[in-house]
């Protein structure tokens, strides 16, 4: 059994403690916006926020949570796609296949919380998500645009 505070709600799930947070979110809680990409914290498609920090949930065992942490997934980032990152992403038409974009948006929104006006060097250091469609050029533009929308 594990208790999670996720997107403002408290949930109890009956699951083995070594189950990664990613799979609890997807399979026990049925929120599939957070994606599986590699399972070894390499690609970032599974990025969520734990107490505001970007976390690669595919290697984060649910047993490591105390139950007090505030977890945010893409479904809880905003009610209506109004987060500045989502707005910037819409304006620049960033997603292609879109599979990595939940993780990308969560990674970027965590960066902007910590560094509200990042330089390109800050972006290079903080954002390492893989996008095989190759939206990276627009992602950089999108981050700078999101700063203006915040």
């Amino acid at each position: 059994m594990a208790t999670l505070k996720i997107n403002g709600e408290t949930k109890t799930v009956d699951v083995e403690e070594d189950t990664p947070l990613l799979w609890v979110i997807r399979e026990q809680l049925g929120m599939t916006g957070t994606k599986y990409g590699c399972g070894i914290a390499q690609c970032g498609t599974c990025t969520v926020h734990v107490d505001g920090q970007a976390v690669r949930s595919c290697v984060y065992p649910v047993g490591a949570l105390s139950g007090d942490e505030n977890i945010t997934t893409i479904e809880g980032l905003s009610e209506d796609a109004s987060h500045p990152v989502q707005q910037a992403w819409a304006e620049l038409d960033i997603p292609q296949c879109g599979y990595c974009q939940s993780g990308m948006i969560m990674a970027v929104s965590a960066l902007l919380k910590e560094t509200p006006n990042p330089t390109d060097e800050d972006i290079d250091a903080a954002i390492s998500n893989i996008c095989r469609c190759g939206t990276l050029a627009r992602v950089r533009k999108g981050i700078h645009l999101a700063v203006k929308k915040a």
Binding site: G30, I94, I123, R132, G134, A137
Partner: protein
């Protein structure tokens, strides 16, 4: 925008089971069963391409798959253009392969590859839309008792010029659906376009910003179980035994089953079916499995075969002209170099997956696929049920790049579903399975020899490609007298083979030979975004650079001298050179590349910095593309930028090697992909010259790597000929 769908008609409610939590999945492409599928009743549509609701919502049917490349939006723009509807009212839906079969392929081919989504289907798609417009206007005119010729239409509003009467498409769509289609339609000239040709935003973005977009891996059906699979790690090996008793009491485990090779008779995989995928995969990791047989293939050892092919007397001729022997005999200087290209994995972000539900008289599959029709055929074949009783629901793809044209994972899902009749089974490959069991971009080497005269003119040119044929492995029936013509993408003569007309070489050489010594490893090859154009561009365009340097000529001038018969190629090359500042004395190091592929003329100029320690930074790439007709310029830019990430990832890191028949790279830690820190600034020049329809998704990949390699030479004086660049020191290479 995308229409909010009517739940009763197109949505469905599913439970996750484990928590009792109920969620609603919405999406035109995600019906939960045949009964809930989008109703494409011919009596309830203007025609096959267009359905219009009473509220004027226009639903455009898209036969080709959307995997990020933007074809869905582009095709919708073309339909909306000829239909003259209001773009704000447009939404889209996929007809199913089963419906296409039942309606005698009214939507044509579903196959989505070769950068053909728009260029192969625009004609009949636009004609369908134009016919719908004529029928709608005729329906209004009939209602008013006036000649249709006195009516005009704009943004879905029909007006009778004389009386000023107005009505909307939604009000006459029912009557229009009963009319006979016109015998002839006239399409608009692209110069008249108002919706097509515009940088419209994609129709499928909103759901991708909120996590609502449903991919195959996300599918949840009532009562569904999850499966994880392990395929024989060694090429050709089969399943000897497994001990299900060791895992059958693990949490959630329902069944452990062997899985037959989708392309052969023997079992070559084992799968665990459980309540959740995580539990299935955990049990699979704990499952004792023994394999037997297989091929001791090693990429290191195979290199000797590739090298043999470089000098073999026996090779298929792809393109030849003039007298090579005399040219080389009289050469003042001979340049002789060899480049190589390793295996690559597609590595779509979403691993392979499919969900199947099998009963004795029906089989349904939900899957991301680049070819719904071949997925349906594979479903029927594996299900052992007539194709008319099978159905495939296409789910949005988390990347394709050519990998999802193969139905191996679809067949596996059906096999698993047959083990548990009546229960939907979702099969999801782990990243490791996906990386090890791809259809790999083939390995080849290219040896180029050039004869230069004393004035630096190229008098003889020989390119020998040695390596794997995709067609020989996947579709041997497509070989022509043993020749795999696809090997010669970008190198083929014009005017010889209609299937290769969009892949011809644009340089004019006096005496030349381009041939292929086929050397086939046991590795399964596949069509990988850009296919053979990728390495052929490296071979051709790096060599042109080497020749120019050897001849003491400017690489731009040297290329242009051989492009006199292809002004369109010269134009894209000149465009990137001009914008990038080619030839300016500003201390920047630049490299060029120009190619023709998939029916489009493309070029790139890369700018790089190489540190004293040999570290590479790709600063900027200026790219130009002339696809003839530009349906959505901003999406073309997105494809160019994206193609560079794909092409540069391969150049910098991409490599699958084999030892003892087993792929050595199993995840993104060893098969890396370009991250944002390494992403160059990309400037895209979209310069459609009109009169033809070229592809967009693939051609520009090919020009990224050669331009960068040539720029590295400009920066260092060293040639990198072994790919990927990976750990090579660019100063000491």
């Amino acid at each position: 925008m995308t229409k909010t769908l009517n739940i009763s008609r197109r949505g469905f409610i599913v439970g996750t089971g484990a928590t009792g939590l109920t969620i609603v999945v919405l999406g035109a492409c995600t019906p939960s069963s045949k009964d809930d599928a989008v109703n494409l009743d011919p009596n309830d549509e203007v025609n096959a391409w267009v359905h219009i609701d009473h509220d004027d919502t226009v639903t455009i049917r898209i036969a080709r798959s959307e995997m990020g490349q933007g074809t869905l939006t582009g095709l919708a723009q073309l339909v909306a253009e000829e239909l003259d509807c209001d773009w704000k009212n447009v939404t889209t839906e996929y007809p199913t392969p089963g419906q296409n079969l039942a309606r005698e392929r009214v939507w044509g081919a579903f196959s989505t590859g070769g950068s053909r989504g728009i260029r192969d289907s625009h004609q009949y798609v636009r004609e369908g839309a134009a016919a719908a417009r004529i029928m709608l206007v005729e329906a209004a005119a009939t209602e008013w008792g006036v000649p249709a010729s006195e009516c005009s239409v704009s943004d879905g509003i029909i007006t009778h010029t004389g009386s000023g009467k107005k009505t909307s498409y939604g009000k006459v769509a029912g009557a229009a659906s009963k009319l006979a289609p016109p015998l002839e339609v006239t399409l608009k000239d692209p110069s008249e376009w108002k919706v097509a040709g515009q940088p419209k935003l994609r129709l499928d973005t909103a759901e991708k910003l909120t996590g609502k977009q449903v991919y195959g891996a996300d599918l949840q059906l009532d009562g569904m179980l999850n499966a994880a699979i392990r395929q024989a790690p060694k090429i050709g090996a089969t399943l000897k035994s497994f001990d299900a008793s060791a895992v059958q009491n693990m949490p959630g485990v329902k069944k452990v089953v062997s899985v037959r090779n989708p392309f052969g008779a023997e079992n070559n995989a084992v799968a665990v079916i459980a309540d959740t995928w995580w539990r299935a995969n955990k049990a699979l990791e704990a499952l004792p499995v023994e394999w037997e047989g297989g091929v001791d293939f090693s990429t290191d050892e195979f290199e000797a075969e590739l090298n043999d092919g470089l000098t073999s007397d026996d090779a298929f001729v792809g393109n030849a002209s003039g007298d090579l022997e005399t040219a080389f005999a009289g050469a003042d200087q001979i340049v002789d170099v060899t480049y190589n290209m390793p295996f690559q994995n597609h590595a779509t972000m979403e691993p392979m997956n499919a969900t199947a539900l099998w009963t004795e008289d029906k089989c349904e599959v939900w899957c991301p696929t680049q070819d719904g029709e071949s997925a349906l055929a594979a479903t029927a074949e594996e299900a052992g049920i007539p194709i008319e009783q099978c159905e495939v629901y296409k789910i949005h793809l988390g990347g394709g790049f050519g990998r999802r044209g193969a139905p191996d994972y679809v067949k596996q899902a059906v096999m698993l579903a047959k083990e548990m009749p009546g229960t939907p089974i979702k099969l999801l490959w782990s990243r490791e399975e996906d990386m090890m069991h791809g259809f790999f971009h083939p390995t080849t080497k290219g040896r180029m020899r050039g004869a230069l005269d004393a004035d630096g003119n190229l008098t003889g040119f020989h390119m020998r490609i040695s390596g794997q044929s995709i067609l020989a492995a996947l579709m041997p029936q497509a070989l022509q007298d043993g020749v795999d013509f696809a090997t010669f993408q970008g190198l083929f003569p014009a005017g010889v083979n209609p299937r290769m007309e969009d892949q011809s070489i644009k340089y004019s050489f006096d005496n030349f030979l381009i041939d292929h010594a086929m050397r086939n490893p046991p590795v399964r090859p596949g069509f990988w975004r850009g296919v053979n154009l990728n390495q052929n561009a490296i071979y051709l365009e790096c060599f042109m650079d080497e020749l120019a340097v050897a001849a003491g000529r400017d690489p731009l001038e040297f290329r242009l001298a051989h492009l006199k018969d292809s002004p369109k190629t010269a134009a894209v090359l000149q465009a990137v050179a001009d914008q990038a500042g080619w030839g300016s004395n500003d201390g920047k190091h630049r490299g060029l590349c120009a190619m023709y592929g998939f029916g489009s003329y493309v070029a790139a100029c890369a700018e790089v910095t190489v540190s004293d320690d040999g570290d590479l930074k790709i600063d900027r790439i200026v790219a130009a593309t002339d696809p003839g007709t530009a349906v959505n310029p901003q999406q073309i830019e997105a494809q160019v930028e994206g193609s560079f990430v794909y092409g540069l990832s391969a150049l910098l890191y991409g490599e699958i090697t084999f030892e003892n028949g087993e792929a050595q790279q199993k995840n993104f830690d060893t098969f890396d992909s370009l991250r944002i820190a390494a992403m160059p600034k990309v400037e895209t020049i979209v310069m459609p010259s009109g009169g033809f329809w070229g592809g967009v998704g693939e051609p520009t990949i090919a020009v990224a790597a050669p331009a960068v390699l040539n720029a590295i030479y400009a920066a260092t004086g060293k040639r990198i000929r072994n790919l990927p660049i990976k750990d090579q020191n660019l100063r000491e290479a």
